[in-house]
């Protein structure tokens, strides 16, 4: 445990250090820049609210990616399933006249089901036609991107806007804010994270999914239902993405309407988080928060120190690489050190 924490801390510090060097090299003040990032992401209750809302959304995508990585099913349709969630939430929110206590759950459930269906289609294509879900999910991203764009260009378009986008959802469909700054998405995401943790640790399905991801042959001989679990894992992963899409529409800090192509950066970030978090729910929470902090503070940093926004994207990339490489290499490094110490013992005996 301490070893895990040490490698993570070491990875993040390395990335931050490298970022500083780059800033110095480019003639910026590194401390000022980082301070600005921190101020704009954590400096006020408003800033914290923005950071946490973003964390909630990206954590959903990261859970989706974690599901696929740890179960051995490949779902790369994050973007497409987020779009599905978004468009369904928008449609319900705009056209279904329901009171808020019904509308919000309806949007959440509708989006989750929509995302699950999209992933499940890929799963069924695999089951019945042996089509690689790796490719089909990736292709669905394009189909859904253009299809949703078509929808907001035609039937769902807001005629008042010059740019193609949907109407704004009914006001009672927007997530309520708590304490004036905390969006309801944060509590919702927290609940989903707790449920996911239990699902992985304490259910048969979670156990079979993990084992299938680690050694499918062993799982198969052990009596795990490989095919059934594959479909379930695909659907679950799609549902997480659908939820992320829904939160992108109904969050109080969001635009509350569908704009073509929105959410693509979340899709990529979710995949990266799943990789650095190493299929661990707690890791997902930590890295979602860290990355959201950097992203939320990026605009502020650009404003104050004129370091371009893109620097943060680079910093996130550096973090992913250094955390993963330090994690992978640390075991080898420690083992080799131990072996050398052991070898010295034999040399000493020789002297005696």
């Amino acid at each position: 445990m301490t070893k895990k924490a040490t490698t993570i801390a070491l990875g993040i510090l390395t990335a931050i250090g490298m970022g500083m060097l780059l800033l110095v090299w480019q003639g910026y003040d590194p401390l000022d820049s980082y301070a600005a990032v921190f101020r704009y992401s954590m400096g006020s209750s408003f800033a914290i609210g923005v950071t946490l809302e973003r964390t909630a959304i990206v954590a959903m995508v990261a859970l989706a990616a974690t599901t696929t990585f740890s179960s051995g099913a490949s779902n790369l349709g994050m973007f497409g399933q987020i779009l599905t969630g978004e468009i369904i939430a928008t449609a319900i929110g705009v056209y279904l006249p329901l009171p808020g206590w019904l509308l919000i759950p309806a949007m959440l459930i509708g989006s989750a089901l929509g995302g699950a269906c999209m992933a499940l289609i890929a799963g069924l294509l695999r089951k019945y036609f042996n089509m690689n879900e790796f490719i089909t999910t990736l292709m669905f991203n394009f189909i859904l991107d253009y299809f949703t764009e078509y929808l907001v260009n035609t039937s769902m378009r807001d005629p008042l806007m010059s740019w193609p986008m949907s109407k704004v959802i009914a006001p009672q469909g927007v997530m309520p804010r708590f304490f004036g700054f905390l969006d309801g998405s944060v509590f919702f995401a927290l609940a989903i994270l707790v449920i996911s943790y239990i699902l992985w640790k304490n259910t048969r399905f979670g156990y079979e999914m993990r084992m299938n991801g680690k050694n499918p042959i062993f799982a198969n001989y052990g009596g795990c239902d490989a095919q059934g679990n594959f479909l379930k894992a695909m659907a679950l992963s799609g549902a997480y993405n659908g939820l992320a899409g829904c939160l992108l529409i109904i969050g109080s800090g969001q635009q509350n309407r569908f704009v073509p192509g929105m959410g693509e950066n979340y899709a990529n970030e979710g995949l990266m988080i799943a990789i650095v978090a190493n299929n661990n729910v707690i890791g997902v929470v930590l890295y979602s928060f860290l990355f959201s902090m950097l992203n939320a503070g990026a605009t502020g940093m650009q404003l104050e120190t004129s370091v371009p926004l893109e620097f943060i994207t680079m910093l996130i990339g550096l973090t992913v690489m250094s955390v993963v490489s330090i994690r992978e290499y640390s075991t080898t490094f420690i083992n080799n050190a131990k072996a050398m110490a052991e070898n010295r013992k034999f040399k000493k005996r020789e002297v005696k």
Binding site: N202, R204, R210, K214, N335, A339, E342, N343
Partner: protein
């Protein structure tokens, strides 16, 4: 010193992090002798040979060849120094001819880089004549038997003018008759002045062919003695440091009702169209008996077990478990009633990177109610408890239940697996080569456990390539050859030689 072709001094090898495989091992090999190195698995004999062959780099120590200090860091250098090794798994290309395989890596070429196979053929002819080999040089290697392939590996070394041959458990893949032939060949090689290093588990053959025997235990050399006046008891005591029971105590039991029945089962080969891997196989196993399945590897035993578990579909006949036809059931259904120890503990018997707890949970998680917690969830506490029980009752040496499977030795891994399967409490136990590659101590323990299960009234189906194992455990033995069940015997009414003849297809008792 001068007549020692190989002299290894104070070799230390540490596998990271702290697995000391060789603790200052010294070994001298005389020219022209057959020198056997025996020891349990993990005793370091293979590692020592790999250091000599340049496959592993030693942390300390020196190697002298003919009195000259040598640094050997790759197999290529070893071959240049006249040292060659035949591995347990052959390194041959199936679709190449024998000749092509032999010259591979050392091909005679002309100035333009074109192959000159005829030059190689001439050189080989001498070798083949000298040692009376008779295999067709232009046949594809995949069409030859395992024994022939092994000979090709040896010829490969002779072709490279190797003087010191290391053979890593060469008889593990051979039938008794084939092993005899190998020993004759080794004797001839010795007459021709070659030195042979022979690694083995099997005490009988070591005593039979060796001039000198070295025993290793836990990374140390126990002793090296000339093979005079030594016997099995002396060797096994030195290997494990205590007396081992080489025959399993097995009380007489009266077998009960039939548990498993194969009735004319055929299995199509997934690789070769039109071929049947199992052809009308019929047998039954009763409660309280051990049915041993003998056969040279690749004759249908593996497919029979796969068909029984449900991993391979059958195309004719049916399989009945306690009277019920299970031929159409999924693996998940069948595993409710079958405890199964698979052939390959790393690939199909465990998840190496997961904890022991996760490993013992498999199958229990849906079969038995003993892991159920509140609200129908899996109880992590009960999973750990099951794991702790298995660790204690099956004498698994490990830190605790959170240890990862890969950190355990092979024997302890197998004990975890066997514990898991026996604890399922099924009436049928299928054990496919349960002790392959294990040390004597673990083998003894696992055999004891299997016999205990039989005495409790469990029907046991034991598949093994080791006739000693089959003879000491089985109540009945059936023999597979070419996908067919060719004979059935009680071990006290037959001999290893007779079973060997059935295995090789020299005899058959098929009545159709």
């Amino acid at each position: 010193m001068e007549n020692n072709v190989v002299e290894m001094r104070d070799i230390v090898k540490i596998f990271p992090p702290d697995n000391v495989a060789l603790k200052r091992v010294s070994l001298s090999i005389k020219k022209g002798e057959i020198h056997s190195i025996i020891g349990e698995n993990g005793a370091g004999k293979s590692t020592l040979m790999k250091v000599l062959y340049g496959l592993e780099k030693a942390n300390q120590g020196e190697i002298f060849l003919g009195g000259v200090h040598k640094q050997i860091s790759t197999p290529k250098e070893a071959v240049d120094c006249g040292i060659g090794m035949v591995h347990q798994e052959f390194m041959l290309v199936g679709v190449y001819t024998v000749l092509e395989n032999i010259v591979l890596g050392d091909e005679p070429c002309n100035a333009l880089g074109m192959l000159k196979l005829d030059a190689a053929r001439d050189k080989l002819k001498n070798i083949l004549e000298q040692f009376h080999f008779d295999f067709p040089l232009d046949e594809q290697v995949q069409n030859l038997s395992v024994a022939a392939q092994q000979k090709i590996e040896i010829v490969k070394l002779l072709y490279r003018n190797v003087d010191i041959l290391i053979l890593d458990e060469p008889t593990a893949v051979l039938a008794p008759q084939e092993a005899d032939e190998l020993f004759k060949l080794l004797e001839q090689l010795k007459q021709a002045g070659k030195t042979i290093l022979f690694i083995s588990h099997k005490l009988d053959e070591v005593l039979r062919i060796s001039d000198t025997i070295t025993v290793m235990r836990r990374g140390e050399r126990v002793w090296t003695k000339p093979n005079q006046g030594l016997d099995k008891i002396a060797l096994s005591n030195a290997m494990v440091g205590r007396d081992v029971m080489l025959t399993v105590e097995k009380p007489e039991t009266v077998p009960g009702d039939t548990v498993l029945e194969f009735d004319g089962v055929s299995v199509k080969s997934p690789l070769v169209p039109g071929k049947l891997d199992n052809d009308r196989v019929s047998f039954s196993v009763r409660a309280g008996e051990i049915l041993g399945v003998a056969g040279v590897e690749g004759n249908g035993q593996y497919e029979m077990v796969q068909a029984l578990i449900g991993a391979l579909p059958i195309c004719a006949g049916n399989i009945r478990l306690m009277g019920r036809d299970i031929s159409k059931d999924a693996i998940r259904e069948r595993r409710r009633q079958i405890s199964y120890i698979s052939q390959d503990r790393k690939r199909s018997g465990s998840s190496q990177t997961d904890t022991l707890t996760d490993n013992v949970t498999m199958t229990h998680h849906y079969v038995s109610g003993r892991l159920k917690g509140k609200l129908g969830l899996l109880s992590v506490r009960k999973m750990r408890k099951l794991c702790d029980e298995i660790i204690e009752n099956y004498q698994v040496k490990c830190k605790n239940s959170s240890t990862r499977m890969m950190e355990l030795s092979g024997g302890n891994q197998q004990k975890v697996i066997i514990g898991r399967e026996i604890e399922l409490g099924c009436r049928l136990l299928v054990a496919d080569q349960p002790v392959r590659g294990l040390d004597v101590g673990s083998i003894e323990y696992i055999h004891k456990k299997i016999v205990e299960e039989r005495n409790k009234g469990v029907a046991v189906l034991l598949v093994s390539a080791d006739l000693d194992e089959l003879f000491s455990l089985s109540d009945r033995i059936v023999v597979f050859h070419n996908g067919r069940l060719v004979a059935q015997r009680r071990p006290d009414e037959t001999t290893r030689e007779e079973i060997g003849e059935f295995m090789l297809g020299a005899r058959s008792e098929l009545n159709d």
